[in-house]
């Protein structure tokens, strides 16, 4: 269980547009152990998706640049592989599920074909066997195989997401990157899809990086958590660390913003202000402007990663004394 499957070191990604440089991901360190589900939590524009896409090296080509860092997967640095070698990993060893099931499938190919295509690409099998396995995959995600030769527009959103999941899991990947897989779905459908993902994960032993903005989903499904803010991981640890002993003011602020089902307080406690402009980041702590506990010192330089408990790291000066 403690074996490292994926290790990201000092990853930095920038988007170069005509106007400015967007510093999307800055010095991110992250480890995914075999078999675990890690939640990547943060708000829109925090850089979660960019991290996931960097792992697969499928960032949008002309503008995005991986500036520095290493991404070790089973000991090999993915960033040093050739495009050919990388293609053998994509969809085979590492697969990805995208946020919007409505647009993630090719509208003019059958769903069955799209799954079979991935299977055939990574396995030396006949077309017929690929078709057979693709049908099995459909059944596995709860879609009757009669619907193999239907087109994406004939499926509902929840069903499409099942197809995408079937496609991602079709080659038994070791790592699954799930980018907000249920955000576009209704609550009851979300429950179905999360449940299915969980049981498939147990069945296949896949490690999962789950990107989400919903702390509820994290509490339900993850083993550990990394909180992303303005391109940095500000706090990471196990779910217990984050949910019971959150130490970073941003993490605390997120919890304060959520309406609780069981207690009714007169007002929520939101974080003031907004995330800093990613083209113009402050030199010190990125949460400085919004932080209720900020001191002059916070604005001076980037805060250190402080390990407040074994496996629980917080990027905050205040955490130095060993908070929590």
């Amino acid at each position: 269980m403690d074996e490292k499957l994926l290790e990201i070191r000092n990853l930095a990604v920038e988007y170069h547009t005509d106007e400015a440089v967007v510093y999307a991901v800055n010095n991110v360190n992250l480890t995914v152990k075999k078999g675990e589900t890690i939640g990547l939590v943060g708000e829109t524009g925090a850089g979660k998706t960019t991290i996931a896409r960097s792992i697969l090296r499928i960032l949008p080509p002309p503008t995005a640049r991986i500036v520095s860092g290493e991404i070790f997967f089973n000991g090999t640095d993915l960033l040093k592989l050739s495009e050919k070698e990388m293609q053998k990993i994509r969809g085979n060893k590492i697969a990805m599920i995208f946020q919007d099931p409505m647009t993630a499938l090719n509208p003019i190919e059958t769903v069955g074909f799209q799954i079979a295509e991935a299977i055939q690409r990574h396995n030396k099998i006949t077309r017929f066997e690929a078709v057979k396995r693709a049908s099995e995959m459909l059944e596995m995600v709860g879609i009757p195989m009669e619907r193999y030769s239907e087109y994406p527009h004939q499926f509902s959103g929840g069903m499409k997401q099942r197809v995408v999941i079937a496609m991602a899991l079709s080659c038994n990947p070791e790592l699954l990157l799930a980018d907000e897989p249920t955000t576009a779905l209704d609550v009851t459908i979300q429950a179905q899809v999360l449940d299915m993902m969980e049981s498939l994960k147990r069945q296949l032993g896949t490690s999962v990086v789950l990107i989400t903005h919903d702390l509820g989903v994290v509490a339900d499904t993850c083993d550990s958590v990394a909180v992303v803010y303005a391109g940095e991981i500000v706090e990471r640890g196990t779910v217990e660390h984050i949910f019971d002993f959150a130490a970073h003011p941003y993490t605390l602020g997120l919890f304060g913003s959520l309406p609780q089902l069981d207690s009714k307080e007169p007002r929520l406690k939101p974080i003031k202000g907004m995330m800093p402009d990613p083209t113009n980041l402050p030199p010190g702590c990125r949460f400085y402007e919004r932080c209720p506990e900020a001191t002059a010192e916070c604005a001076e330089g980037p805060p250190p990663d402080v390990e407040v408990a074994p496996g629980h790291t917080v990027k905050c000066i205040k955490a130095r004394g060993g908070a929590a």
Partner: protein, 318 residues
Amino acid sequence: MTPLLEVRNLRKYFKTRYGTLHAVDDVSFTLEKGKTLGVVGESGCGKTTLGRTVLHLTEPTDGQIFFEGRDITYPRKKELRKLREEMQIIFQDPYSSLNPRMTVSEAIMEPLILRGGMSRDEMLEETRSLMDTVGLAARFENSYPHELDGGRRQRIGIARALALKPKFIVCDEPVSALDVSIQAQIINLMLDLQEEFGLTYMFVTHDLSVVKYISDEIMVMYLGQVVEKAPSDELFANTLHPYSKALLSAIPIPNIHKKRKRILLRGELTSPINPKPGCRFMARCDYAMEKCNEPQVLEESSPGHFVACCRYKEIMNS
């Protein structure tokens, strides 16, 4: 005391290629002044259409709507103009609910211009005070919506809705497009405004934790019909309808010590086109039996708690 809004047996049907779509089917409720009614349901349940129909943004097919005791189901043109000054709407998507070609102050001033009767200076002054009320800094006066973030855009939408000093506001998923930290800011703002101006809200959303937090009473809709209606604490403490139960159990709670059993529903929401007379939830319900083929009526199980399920007592006792 007459309620601010009363809706009786409201129906809204749409004709489609495939048949008649029962978007809102026989919905009744009353709403007291200063209270908030939460309307919850998944996409396609008719909650948005309900809000639009009450505001006459689309015309009702059948039923009656009373506002402060007046029948406003089929208002005359002049009456409708007056009505729209008293009833307003806040939209879901702050990116598409503002005209991209109007600056912040123009957008907020637009309702004042359309109402007329104010000089330009008065309107400008009013606009500034509205911006102040919703927490928009004066420096954004001449900004265009695309220059602002979602939270600020939603504040513009709120200011515009407030401009005519309405009594009743339909809030159509006003925070679901926003990030949590911004969402909390907007919810607080809406609560503050309700206190300050004595507003009445109809809060339409799919987010149950938000609706619980903000509503006095909650109405759960499924395929155009109300399946359960109760004061919000009562609904969460004492859920009766099998669909509401599944819906509530499906909310992911950000607490690792309260693992609950999710009730997984079979299949997916179908579309309410040419529905059969029986319970619309039947096909996905674990408790379905022969008598569910009969039309379901809202029954008062305890004071103020209504449920449209013929088996709720048996389910409660099992």
